[in-house]
Symmetry: C2
Subunit: 727 residues, 2 copies
């Protein structure tokens, strides 16, 4: 479970396919930049200065890039609060800041800054907001007043130290909460601390995590001064998710994991009733998606596969209201939520598009009419006021920094307000073209072609393919996708970059069946599961590269590939199946390698049919598992890793044993997504050096790197000697 | 290299065989207790009190047991200094103390106490001693004056944090040193610190060690105020060992490891010469043993195998001086050193006996006469003054706490001085009988039978075999042998304990060839190497148990086995090869398990013929590697581990997958030999609970252990269901 395939997230990561919208998108982008620059340089404009000339990308820009994590609108629709999280290179840590913005003028005021801000919520039927903040007592619950002051609302002194996949370890008193609609109650998740046990008894996974906290996680409900313990979960579990109030504040449902049975249960706490009751149950590998409510009084959902997908509302009487073709999916955790107007006649629903991978908002009327609020770029973090007469979103794309936009939910009209990352507006945008590739098996993969900065027609460039499953999409410098692969810096130094997704699980019934069979018995032969989930992607990646080679854009001798986590699976498989890629960078992965069997038995048994030491499973490992195929490796592999698993180490050592250049770089004090900006700089620089060396034969003359190049040259000589005449 | 088989120590661990000396030994023991109690209870005697009645062993006694680490005698032979290291249960750490003792009266004075004291040396041609101590500035070099004051002699402010196999991490400025015979110069090993690199590039072993220090290790020579850097070695390497001055202080030889070539080199630094020169070279798997000088002006050595071993001195003219049959080996790192009288006519040499495993001192005369200073128990830490007219040793045995004895080197006469662990003299000694067992293949294994405290003839007892290669020997509560297996507490609660060694490598030429082939090519088939190094031990262990069963001492249904490191290899092999043992405890091991291949390729290839994923090597793994044989497991296995390797985890998960009871308990903040006394208590208690449950069906009623027994009962039901009818 360490690497990539959380039971809560596996099927959330679906790919997307679709057509081209580049013209529309670029037009929108130009409008956005103009609006953003005028709105965002009040000081420069006031001083009568011309805007600074556009500049180019640096690694520092990537490591410091902003992410808007929270956005909330006032009851009267006149202003909004948002939280932005950025890498602070000087402090070598992430920092969050809370900002107030006037939605009509775009005027802003900074409210607070902290190592941790999250969970920004309007308090129902009251003035002001609440949020989770670390103001020196660990993360606790605060109220924000109109002047930006944070007043303690709930302090739990029993803080525990807890980490997350993309964060270092922080002290948490309260880690999550949610107001009941009546504004009188809130549920909250409290951490408790224990004197740490010096032992770990019967761990289920390796390497051991030291970031789980010590004491049980408690779900509690607070109403005035009354505080009720609903349930406890063990430290290190996923705790409680998808919490929903029913009937104002009389009951609360939530999902939790039943460890022993490897299942998820939905439970209901009812005020005044002592025991919680179980209301639903699912396999732990299936994430229950809540259907949004539609304007017909029913539940919204999509049906069909591939180009046949439709949006339908299942009405209370069982009949269907058809909204027509749907180029999107609902319920993706990265898209916005859903709202219904007080009269129930209009619904707003967050979407994730398949054609060009992006996030949007559609407006549905009882008539069956469906309207998109934006036809290009992404709308994320959207929210609507209680009166349903004002809304705000973050608009962004691969080339457009996040910008605040407001909209009228009744007519869907979008108006730019202000850039949320003005320092990034000054960077001259790169040329990014969305594409869909259909592979030899007929499966589609979506993605983008990033052009080198000074692209000249007729010249052939090196290319690096970057992949991480499904998040090559229209968000701005998303570390969740590009990790420590410096996409923008590669474009600046003359590389094409292919940002590409896996074929989406919603593309065919057979693909969906294969994904389901990743963690449960099913009808497909093991070979077919391997083909559909992994080799299918190799086919897509080769197709995308062939396309650029065929167009004369890239040099077929200078093709690299990079990916972390799910992307690392694909990179390792690609390098031991295909001869198209000449060098690779594989980030903090290792799933599919044999020594992972004992940490991930419940999925390996469906992928390989048993243990790597079982002769009956040998052929299945030999067919897919990269460590079993090192003698077929096409070229050098760099692994940058945080988890330090034997899977990563064994692949490295097996490659070296067979004379294949391999470099394994551990960052022992990092998270799966590196959270320390200085480490991100180091790792990005390693990637620049690695591909420059292996694809272009170029070396950085910095004397501090002498031992690096000595090592790499030595490996190159051995590799050339071993492969002479083979290529 | 993490687990068990350091290149520097592998062949140092040899076993021993021999006859019975129990009568002589027990007589000596009784004399010792009487002497020790009279010498050691001056307060009690002064107050006219009778000695307290003898008491029994507790786990606390074992966790706090003393180890005399250093002993040094004054020039005039009148007094000695010694360092004793003990577990401090209150501080949950080890503490060292330095003591002065008058050798004629036994009167003692405490001189100093610290988290770290070591390296006690007489300063040649000067008054006083020097030692390494941590007095708050990290470990540094101090001079001890006659009043017990420690004055700084050499402080290196660049401390680095470094750990060791049986210690936590300490700050070291200077980690080793040695005076030149003229007393004007000393070599020393200085640590240097660096800002830690956040990365580890291409590690050679997993799991990563965080205890290696950061900066290079420096070998330096100090003469007055002149300080010369001889050589640097990388942090985490073994650095510099076996340093010897030549020609007073004009040159210095030492061994160091050449990483790239996996070799050891002896180098010589010569005063005034800029470059060090290479003077010898050995495979990294062969530890060069320095031959002691004999009274004939030649070099001492033993020849032959088994009962044919002889002590001979090779004289300068090549002829041999024969001292007769030698029941011992020379050069064992646990035995005392060697001294030659100023006239060169008498040599004193530290020995390690094969018959009853113990350490001694023999006195050799030019006439070819050889005399043992003690015929039972061990003499360790022996040292002689420069004038060669006075010497001191620590005398101890499995049942006798360390006692200081003095002797006259000219006639070999031993005189008890004082007990060095008076609180342990109060414990009523257990009955311990040395034995040698000859297995079905004719190989001998030495060891001891520890009787249950209130043994009654005719009653049958449960038995636990404890093994760790070669150190079941006559030392008192040696944690290096018994680890967290509470040998004494088992005897107190009615268990027999078999403390047993592997057949010794010096027992036959074929066994020595097999050991050599563990790390280098050789003539034996792989099966024969497996048989001799591992299955031979299984045979010996079965023989020893059969012997006790045959004598009617133990119940064949209640036989357990425990061992750590090398012992863990044997335990895991035994449990998947033999049906004699019904429950096991396996400590911080994992060598022989398949995922260790990539950390220990250079030895696995000789044991298994290749990678565990290579079908050609499958039969060899299946023949020996416990993870490949879990379905043949004879019973429950507890693993208590500090290193957290995938080898340990995979064996645990594979056993569970096949329904075999298995418990894996990590102590993430421990060293290979646990150094925190509270953790040792916990681990020992787990071992008591584990064998009581699986061998006797007994449970501790402590409610805090409810979940432990629930888990074990569940595993027992599954196991009984799975094995019904099989046993």
């Amino acid at each position: 479970m360490t690497h990539f395939m959380s039971a809560w997230g596996c099927f959330g990561r679906v790919g997307a396919v679709g057509g081209h919208l580049s013209t529309a998108k670029r037009a929108w982008w130009v409008a956005l930049v103009v609006a953003a620059m005028s709105a965002m340089s009040p000081l420069a404009l006031a001083a009568g200065k011309a805007p600074a000339p556009a500049r180019t990308w640096t690694l520092q820009d990537i490591a410091a890039a902003p992410q808007v994590t929270d956005l909330s609108i006032s009851d009267d629709g006149r202003y909004a609060l948002y939280i932005v999280r950025r890498g602070d290179l000087h402090a070598n840590a992430k920092r969050s800041s809370l900002h107030w913005v006037d939605l009509s003028s775009g005027a802003q005021r900074p409210f607070a800054e902290s190592a941790w801000l999250s969970g920004l919520q309007r308090i129902p039927h009251a003035a002001g907001w609440s949020l989770l903040a670390d103001l020196g007592e660990g993360v606790q619950l605060y109220r924000v007043d109109g002047n930006g002051r944070l007043e303690p609302l709930h302090i739990n002194r029993q803080v525990d130290y807890v980490g997350a996949g993309d964060e270092g370890t922080h002290a948490f008193g309260i880690s999550d909460y949610g107001w009941a609609p009546d504004g009188n109650s809130y549920w909250y998740v409290a951490r408790t601390s224990r004197r740490p046990d010096p032992r770990v008894v019967n761990p289920r996974y390796l390497p051991l995590s030291t970031r789980n906290g010590t004491g049980p996680i408690e779900l509690r409900v607070r109403t005035g001064t009354e505080d009720v313990l609903v349930e406890q979960a063990e430290a290190g579990s996923a705790g409680f998710v998808r919490l929903e109030w029913q009937d104002q504040s009389s009951s609360l449902t939530y999902w939790t994991r039943v460890r022993k049975e490897d299942a998820l249960e939905q439970r209901r706490w009812t005020r005044g009733v002592e025991r919680v009751e179980v209301v639903d149950r699912q396999s732990a590998h299936h994430v229950p998606v809540r259907g949004a409510r539609g304007p017909g009084g029913g539940v919204l959902g999509t049906m069909g596969f591939g180009t046949d997908r439709m949006l339908v509302e299942t009405l209370p009487d069982g009949s269907k209201l058809d909204y027509g073709h749907a180029g999107f999916m609902l319920g993706d955790s990265r898209s916005s939520g859903a709202w219904l107007s007080p009269a129930g006649d209009i619904a707003l629903v967050g979407t994730r598009y398949f054609d060009v991978p992006r996030y949007g908002l559609v407006r549905l009327a009882r008539s069956g009419e469906m309207e998109e609020l934006a036809s290009a770029g992404s709308l994320t973090q959207c929210t609507v006021n209680f009166a349903f007469d004002a809304g705000v979103c973050v608009r962004q794309s691969m080339v457009s920094p996040p910008e605040l936009v407001r909209f009228d939910p009744r007519n869907g009209q979008l108006t730019p307000v202000v850039s949320l990352a003005p320092d990034y507006v000054a960077i001259a945008p790169l040329r990014v073209v969305p594409r869909t590739w259909t592979n030899r098996a007929g499966y589609k993969a979506s993605g983008f072609v990033v052009y080198p900065r000074h692209y000249q027609k007729g010249r052939k460039y090196p290319v690096i393919l970057v992949t991480h499953g499904s998040d090559a999409d229209e968000r701005f410098v998303d570390a969740g996708f590009q990790w420590d692969y410096p996409v923008q810096a590669w474009a600046e130094r003359g590389y094409f970059v292919l940002a590409i997704n896996d074929p989406t699980v919603l593309d065919s019934a057979e693909l969906r069946a294969a994904y389901a069979q990743w963690s449960a018995p099913g009808p497909l032969p093991i070979e077919r599961v391997q083909d559909l989930i992994w080799l299918n992607g190799v086919d897509s990646f080769e197709t995308a590269v062939d396309d650029l080679v065929g167009q004369g854009l890239v040099n077929a001798e200078q093709v690299g590939i990079a990916g972390y986590s799910r992307g690392s699976q694909m990179v390792n498989v690609v390098m031991t199946q295909s001869k198209v890629f000449r060098a690779a960078s594989s980030g903090d992965g290792g799933y599919l390698e044999p020594s992972g069997y004992f940490s991930s038995t419940s999925s390996y048994r469906y992928v390989f049919g048993g243990s790597p030491y079982d002769p009956a499973a040998f052929a299945n490992y030999r067919r897919l598992s990269p460590t079993f195929r090192v003698e077929m490796a096409a070229g050098p592999v760099l692994q940058q890793v945080a988890s330090g698993s034997t899977s990563q180490f064994a692949l490295h050592m097996a490659l070296r044993e067979h004379g294949v250049p391999s470099e394994l770089v551990y960052y022992p004090n990092e998270s799966h997504l590196f959270h320390q900006p200085q480490h991100r700089l180091l790792a990005m620089q390693e990637n620049l050096d690695w591909f420059d060396f292996w694809l272009l034969g170029k070396e950085d003359t910095d004397p501090a790197k002498a031992s690096q190049y000595q090592r790499w040259r030595q490996m190159r000589s051995e590799w050339h000697a071993a492969t002479v005449g083979l290529r």
